[in-house]
């Protein structure tokens, strides 16, 4: 798997986790489960470390996409970009090939990740 793509996936997951730990609904369920979330500053440290490991040009694009669409990586399911539902070219229908390189959807521009 492309190393930068893996870091981008981890960064987006982390961004969602940061939002989630602040959500009221999540807090309510966590409380019901008897769980307490604390120390989310660790997540910000982890985010910073990940961002430093991503090439600046890619990171800048990631932030722009997050700002615009609320996500920067689109999963690919059944050869379709789940960001815009465009069917991808046949040569990208195998996930081993797809995830080998950092690719963007030709229509919506999101980074593609073959689930």
């Amino acid at each position: 798997m492309n190393e930068v793509l893996q870091k981008l996936v981890m960064l987006q997951d982390l961004d969602y986790l940061i939002v989630e730990v602040k959500s009221k609904d999540v807090k309510k369920v966590q409380k019901k489960m008897g769980l307490e979330i604390k120390g989310d500053e660790k997540l910000h440290d982890a985010k910073k470390a990940l961002e430093e490991a991503i090439p600046p040009r890619v990171l800048s694009r990631y932030h722009k996409l997050m700002e615009r669409f609320g996500r920067a990586i689109a999963p690919v399911v059944d050869s379709k970009c789940m960001g815009c539902y465009m069917t991808l070219p046949k040569r990208l229908s195998v996930k081993e090939l797809g995830n080998k390189e950092l690719r963007q959807c030709e229509r919506c521009g999101m980074y593609l990740y073959w689930v």
Binding site: V9, D13, K38, L43, R71, P75
Partner: protein, 152 residues
Amino acid sequence: MKQNELLSFFHKDLFIPELGASTKDGALREIAKCLESSQKVYRASIIYDLLKKREGLGSTAIGGGVAVPHCRSIAVEKLTVLFAMKSKGIDFKSADKKPVKLLFMVVAPPHDMQYLVFLGKLVELLTDKKIKKILLQVKSFEEFKSLISGIK
């Protein structure tokens, strides 16, 4: 969410009757690896890393020997649940200090609407002492399924 609906998220290839790992970190690694080998995720390390970060915010052990490690990730296509057991128990830094013998891992895509509902329902079931006692004796996935579907 009814029992049968809850049960529909469990799959035989995501059932580990006895974890090999004996530490929290090892258990998270093993369940993430199981997701990869059953082709539910492309890379185990993505889920392992996220579960570990979630544990870093506070243990997901809910007491009474049960833990529910959970996270949202784009690495899964749909709500994915794994059930694992460890007869000797694992130290999950639980508030009641009890070793964890039943592990339910829940991973969902970022915008999955069933994630919180599922977690709530699962925890509701797992706080029942009778159910927990029977679950600890489960030896196969079929046994687990018939137990859950028999709960009223």
